[in-house]
């Protein structure tokens, strides 16, 4: 779990959460990869990236998110991000992240999406599926 300045993770069913800390910078790279690798080992179908605690992402931190999203996408996992301010949603769009992951307001919104007919398959383990919303 997160120590406040490191990236944490948790697994709930087929969803693996990555909990980003307040500052998302190059300094959290190692703990982010460790968290993601735990989720990959657990073969989660959906990765939910929580930025609820984050109030500062710099370009190195956004680059880190890109690398995690690219890996997850290549493995056929759906990727969601939530808890971002409007400014950081804009930056994610600028670097093309919004083409590879689905940004929603919060965890409840992600779960609602996954509960829809399109999302239910991925949530129940079809790791190769990519939802319409994340294309």
């Amino acid at each position: 779990m997160t120590k406040g300045t490191e990236v944490g993770y948790r697994i709930e069913g087929r969803i693996g959460y990555i909990d980003f800390p307040r500052d998302v910078t190059a300094q959290v790279r190692e703990s982010a990869y460790q968290a993601y690798n735990e989720l990959a080992r657990a073969r989660v179908a959906v990765v939910g990236m929580s930025f609820t605690a984050s109030d500062y992402l710099n370009s190195a931190g956004i680059g880190l998110v890109i690398s995690l999203v690219e890996d997850a996408s290549m493995a056929g996992r759906q990727v969601y991000g939530f808890g971002l301010s409007g400014h950081y949603r804009k930056l994610f769009g600028m670097v093309g992240l919004t083409e590879q992951m689905t940004l929603v307001a919060d965890n409840a919104a992600m779960l609602a999406r996954l509960g829809s007919p399109d999302g239910a398959d991925a949530a129940s383990g079809a790791a190769g599926d990519v939802s319409e919303a994340s294309r």
Binding site: Q27, N58, A60, G63, E70, S85, G86, H87, M94, G96
Partner: protein
Amino acid sequence: MTGSELRATAQPPATVEIKLPGAPGFERVARSAAAAVAEQMGFSPDRVEDLKTAVSEACLNAMEHGNRGDREAQIHVLLRAEFSRLAVMVSDEGYQKMPETLPEPGQPDRTRGWGLFFITQLMDEVQLQRLPDGGNQIVMTIHLSGAPRG
């Protein structure tokens, strides 16, 4: 006339000067100072967020490239508030020359090289220049009349 214009025209030009240690994390000081000045001038919250990101990235570039990670080397930040615009100048020691032309964003791979891209996308004007003492300087300007970028 909007509230922003009223507040801006009521203030004389002002300058804030900051010297930062060259260690990552201290960019937060410049970012907070720039945000405080911009808020006082009447910039919208969206524009203040744009400015905070641009200032952070300029300081980080100066630390990583211009000062080559030397934590003893300083970063010089000058905020110049004028009636309708805010200029931010970030200077380093110039251990590594700033590129004369902007590099392609997301190079050498998609996980790196977004700093200057964000700055140019978020600010109204950006200039890169070599100082007479050999340092690099980036000058970023936002205008009160400008719309949020990106």
